[in-house]
């Protein structure tokens, strides 16, 4: 008893209604794909940059909820000297991190305060253009920063309400995109002799596990992160982020479901008489429900495809015109698509049941 003729013609019959419902479903899909892609893309990028560090271990004070939320200068710099005396450690370098509200209106921007000499020893950093910062109001930035902000050597940027001059461009991309002198950051933030964490580089004949064990013994109670785990840590995201993403998914399902429900409800009211005709022809409830569900699923499918196209175009535009990273993963595309299907199915369910349960005589004499 399969019959798709009504499904196809009904979708075409009311182009505006179809379009609005398609856009409604697409909106949900775009919301999921882009928001998830954006948050995961940014985290992944951050993770990638952090794991570019040559050091193997990050040492920091206990108490941070997650790696991503431990900014501010709270670690006494004496720990760096203390660490350098531990066997198996080749070099150490204290780093201060300051989270500055972004002047682009989205998110925030991290600034590293480093001691260039020691930092260079634990990482592979090198200046590819210009020179390193001095003790004055100077910074070095990475090539992506130069590209995104359209700045060049000698330009000024504003940090802490002061003008800072870009004196050099460094590679590879490590940690934050802007780096400045640590002691200058300390005095601006009124945190003398403090840092956020210490980068630890192990000697070649020592494993990071052994070194970590030694640190734990001599300086118990601190947090040690292995740089090679960072990428994964970032990709997993925090539980707060995952909650946020779940909320986005629920919102998108609710939007799409409501749009479909409204569209299908209008449709069945408009077509009451046709439902009566189907009943007079002996179409069982199942036939009517399936016909309406198919129409809704066809609309959802169109919406999903449209949503994918918009999301991909959106990613292109956003990553082209802003410094944001959007990571569109197949998994999340599928999740978004599934949400569209689920919305279509459940949105149409009530209208379909209502249509199927109509009285045949009332339906067929509906004006």
């Amino acid at each position: 008893m399969m019959d798709n003729s009504l499904v196809a013609t009904n979708v075409r019959q009311r182009p505006l209604r179809t379009l609005i419902s398609v856009v409604g479903v697409a909106l949900g899909v775009v919301l999921i794909v882009l928001v998830v892609g954006l948050s995961r893309g940014m985290l992944k990028e951050q993770g990638r940059r952090n794991s570019n560090v040559g050091a193997e271990i990050i040492f920091r004070r206990p108490g941070a909820v997650s790696f991503t939320s431990n900014f501010g200068l709270s670690l006494p710099i004496q720990y760096a000297q203390r660490l350098s005396t531990i066997e198996g450690i080749e070099n150490v370098s204290p780093v201060g991190q300051y989270l500055k509200p972004s002047d682009q209106g989205f998110g925030a921007e991290l600034i590293d305060g480093i001691e260039y000499e020691s930092y260079a020893k634990v990482s592979n950093i090198r200046i590819v253009k210009g020179k390193s910062f001095s003790t004055g109001n100077e910074v070095i930035v990475d090539p992506t920063y130069v590209k995104n902000r359209k700045v060049k050597l000698g330009d000024s940027i504003e940090l802490f309400g002061k003008k800072f001059t870009i004196t050099g461009i460094y590679e590879p991309e490590i940690g934050s995109r802007i780096k400045m002198n640590l002691s200058l950051m300390q005095s601006i933030l009124n945190a003398q002799d403090r840092a956020t964490f210490v980068l630890v580089k192990c000697k070649t004949n020592f494993t990071e596990q052994n070194v970590a064990a030694e640190i734990n013994q001599q300086l118990p109670g601190n947090q040690l992160l292995f740089v090679r785990d960072l990428q994964e840590l970032y990709e997993k995201g925090s539980s707060a982020l995952n909650t946020f993403l779940s909320v986005i998914i629920v919102i998108s399902i609710v939007i799409s479901t409501l749009v479909i429900m409204l569209a299908m409800y209008t449709t069945i009211t408009e077509r009451t008489r046709e439902i009566g005709i189907l009943k007079s022809l002996g179409a069982p409830k199942r036939f009517i429900i399936v016909t309406i569900e198919k129409e809704a699923l066809l609309i959802s499918l169109l919406g999903i495809v449209f949503g994918y196209v918009v999301a991909l175009a959106g990613r292109f535009l956003i990553t082209y015109y802003t410094p944001l990273f959007i990571d569109i993963e197949t998994k999340w595309m599928l999740v978004a698509g599934l949400c569209g299907i689920v919305s279509g199915f459940f949105g149409a369910l009530y209208p379909a049941l209502r249509a199927a349960n109509q009285d045949p005589i009332k339906a067929i004499s509906y004006e």
Binding site: M1, S5, L6, L281, P284, I364
Partner: protein, 224 residues
Amino acid sequence: MKTILKTVDLKMTYQLGKVSVNALRGINLEVKEGEFVAIMGPSGCGKSTLLHILGAMLKPSSGQVLIDGEDISKMNEAARTEVRRRKIGFVFQKFNLFPTLTTEGNIKLAENIRRNGASKTSAKRDEILKLLNLEKRLHHKPIEMSGGEQQRVAIARALVSSPAIILADEPTGNLDSENSQIVLNMLQKLNQQLGQTIIMITHNSEAAAVAQQTVYMKDGQIVQ
């Protein structure tokens, strides 16, 4: 000849709030296979109510309705739907075609709903379309056709599943006299050439003249 439809003391009472309307007050009707019966009577006498009950669209308050020997009067909605699908072909005053579908689409949809597993050849459809002179209207939608043509499509649709009975409620009520005549002639032809059993409500005694037998109703009863 075989009795295809029989009612025994059929009653129908509509409940309108506290008021009850006795639309049918004991109808005893017998229709033999291959008969063409016209039902006439003043407005509100219960003709449509009777037709809806005979067509399993409506459950009577009491009495029996036997179609092909099967009592449909106590059936639930699902079973009545099945009876409509297998045994009944409706033709309405307002044609009731699907506006988005062509002639062919309307007929195929009915075929798809009514097909019980075995797929029928299109031979039967072609014969019907020829008989109703619709071959050239296959790809037209309802609004592209005259009322007479639309009603002929509706008749074709009712016929494709070879129903035991065609039930027509004022099939010419929305047609001018010329188209009425064409549709009535077609119904007569179906009855005579295919032996199709037809029960037709009409207000028009000329229309009733194409039937072999006319039943007159008044106040929910058969008067003659």
